[in-house]
Symmetry: C2
Subunit: 462 residues, 2 copies
């Protein structure tokens, strides 16, 4: 039986209201439009209604009903994604989890916390700081933990701390037909059967809906040292990145910004960074090794012709720089009014990073398109914002995007380091995974035989 591709009927809406309570179901026009798109450029698709879940039982009720009625259900966190990951392409129910935002239990003695999916990571870290603990993955945007886990987001600190998947110990998941699974354990290691936790991490709401998440935490390191380094040429900056990683230094952040990015954030945030290829570096640790790492990193930068290496002194200046970095995407959007962007998200082995960045720069130039190049260089992951206005530019932007992704795959990399597949990367899945992609699809069909969960994401519509 195919999915309902039409609007929900009035009787279906009524049934939903009865199941979860009428105040949790909204068809308010402006709310529908708020939930019609994320921060990416994939257009607007309002759902037929929004259900604001307040408990696991609400999620179960919605899924049981929609499974039976073949209505799409698309989980929604904060809408800060870039690949339309939580957008209801085929209408149906937008299952907004932002009200499920309780920090259920902090267990500082085990460096663990259990949260509901709607908790925003900034808020979580604020609560954790009183225990001297934090959850390292930070995608920049005010994303929810549920969204971060669903996308296996990584962000700026993954180069030191690893991506989200290293931090997820347990998941409570509601399957398409409403069954509740409790996956994983609180032990720090386990070889107990198949790793279903990691199957669900990064599944982008296509296999189930998270209702509770237990995370591993890290102690806040007392020593922090940050710096900016400006280079005359992009390839010198990327070479410095490679050498810092290869030297075994373990920066908490190692971010690259090209001159376009620097110009955009200078304009957007009133900063005066030299408009040159720039690295943001941050080191965190418990003691004297931090100063030593900073010194070595400076040596490497200078060995690569760095013209300015500035230690960032004080928390305020550091916060301002990171805020600027986090807002780079908005800054570039502001610098390209009326334009939309395709944002690439390739990641390659670190030794291929300079080649990959240079290739991307040349492709932009070759097609006469503008846009920033920036990224989580220490992990070999970076983004190109390929801005376009008219139809002709749009076609070119797609060609540049395709060329960049195919190059990354050729270099042993991936189409998406942290944004997820959503709709934007579907075209490259077969190429990246070969037969593995078909097996992913088999697993999807096993867990969600009617295809109600986030249809049109990761896999093309049936």
């Amino acid at each position: 039986m195919a999915l309902t591709m039409r609007a929900l009927t009035e009787s279906q809406l009524q049934a939903l209201r009865e199941r979860v309570g009428p105040q949790k179901v909204s068809r308010n026009e402006s709310e529908l439009w708020v939930h019609a798109r994320d921060e990416g450029g994939h257009g607007e698709h309002p759902p037929d209604c929004i259900v604001y879940a307040e408990s696991r039982d609400d999620v179960v009720q919605v899924l049981k009903f929609c499974h039976h009625e073949r209505i799409p259900v698309v989980p929604w966190g904060a809408g800060t994604s870039l690949e339309a990951n939580p957008v209801a392409l085929y209408g149906g129910v937008c299952l907004d989890l932002s009200r499920m935002n309780r920090v259920v239990e902090i267990r500082p003695e085990d460096f663990q916390v259990t949260v509901e999916p709607g908790v925003v990571h900034y808020d979580l870290n604020k609560q954790l700081s009183r225990y001297g603990l934090f959850f390292p993955p930070d995608p920049g945007a005010p994303a929810t933990i549920g969204g971060i886990v669903a996308n296996n987001a990584a962000g700026i600190q993954a180069v030191k701390y690893g991506s989200v998947k290293h931090y997820v110990l347990q998941l409570e998941v509601v399957l398409a037909h409403g069954e509740v699974l409790r996956l994983g354990s609180r032990a720090m290691r386990s070889s107990s059967g198949y790793d279903l936790v990691h199957l669900f991490v990064g599944s982008e709401g296509t296999l189930g809906v998270f209702t509770e998440i237990t995370l591993k935490l890290v102690g806040i390191p007392p020593e922090v040292s940050a710096a900016t380094a400006s280079f005359p040429r992009l390839e010198k900056a990327t070479q410095a990145v490679v050498e810092i990683v290869q030297a075994g230094l373990s920066p908490a952040a190692l971010e690259l910004m090209d001159p376009v990015t620097v110009r955009d954030i200078n304009a957007f945030k009133g900063l005066e960074l030299p408009e040159m290829p720039t690295l943001f570096l941050e080191f965190r640790g418990n003691g004297p090794e931090v100063a030593e790492d900073v010194r070595l990193a400076q040596e490497i930068c200078e060995g690569n012709g760095c013209v300015s290496y500035q230690s960032v002194l004080g928390r305020e200046e550091r916060d301002r720089l990171w805020e600027a970095r986090h807002h780079a995407y908005y800054a570039s959007a502001a610098a390209n009014p009326g334009k939309r962007a395709i944002v690439t998200d390739v990641a390659v082995p670190i030794s291929k990073f300079p080649e990959m960045v240079e290739f991307s720069r040349q492709k932009l130039e070759e097609f006469g398109l503008g846009g920033p190049i920036l990224g989580h260089a220490g992990d070999g992951n970076f983004h190109v914002g390929i801005f376009y206005g008219d139809e002709e530019e749009r076609a070119k932007a797609h060609q540049v995007n395709e060329a960049i992704v195919l190059k990354a795959l050729e270099l042993g990399g991936t189409a998406t380091g942290e944004h997820g597949v959503g709709v934007g990367k579907i075209a490259f899945m077969e190429r990246e995974h070969g037969a593995g992609y078909r097996w992913m699809h088999q697993i999807k069909k096993l867990f969600d035989p009617h295809g109600i969960l986030n249809p049109g994401k990761i896999f093309p519509p049936e």
Copy 2:
């Protein structure tokens, strides 16, 4: 169609010989018995024949044929496991991968290596050391990389470096029907679809056979410092473990041995360690933070009444201690001649570690059974060797084992931290995973519809 539960026919053997070459197929009696058991106590089950695969194509040929003929195929690495993980309970083909032991490619510039599954981790680390790199997981025994990945083994250094799953970037897997999948990428982060790599890590040969594995590596830290600490009472030692972890120290190893273990290894290796509850600690790092961590650890141990804290000076003494630790299992077996053992492998959140160890000690005492308690304390994972002689003791040993596992689950832990499920932990899977266990089974049936791959492991026989 049910599995063949009888010996292979002569014509089936002949067909196998034709497919892979006759010299790779053995029915030599003594070889069959060498492959009849691992190092655990689950009895002897010789396969019908052994195929010594020398290439991916051999693996494909064996699986295609056995899938068609419904013959069990059980992958074999070094046979150092403890839960009968590679034992052919239902006969069929033992697929010995030890000849596929090439280090395919070392890429020091990316901290990566690609190996065949039969490489022994000691040999790999020997080859890597010339690049200043190593693969941290070390289960103690001379296991193969294929076996380590199949069991998601962890070993002594996981407390600092994480378990195997953090290190597997790519897998080449042959599925039951002979299809070859290439999973993962060489990028350090990816959000590209479902994480099939981690589905296969820890699947114990029940979903597919690895033919190539790409691992992430770590730079060898120049500073190493080790120590032993002896405590008057077991609960003081376990409390010190908790405090060391909670202080945010990051030992490369934090191992607990009870007096029985110390006595056994003293006897086995001619050592003279005080026969008291003992911690082995090791710290590794790049510089002065190592000495600082050692100092803090010593303070914590002394605060818990440690009567002797000995820095281990020099590589030779350290190697001798670790060798003794690695041989603890053999030492205890030697101290219990004619007896067999059930080895528990529970892991619990660190705050529950003292309670869990004390519970185990009391259970042994209550049932009048002997055996060592030792383990990877820093991860909350430990082993009790429950030795038994006659049938009455055997029944008691099973009761103790069951009590320990159920207690661990009650405390939020897992039945198996690193040994895998094999046959020995099947009884606890439903209890640990609830409905998740049935979904694991669904995935098994999806990938291996005839159930030829390692039947009777992780799941009960059909």
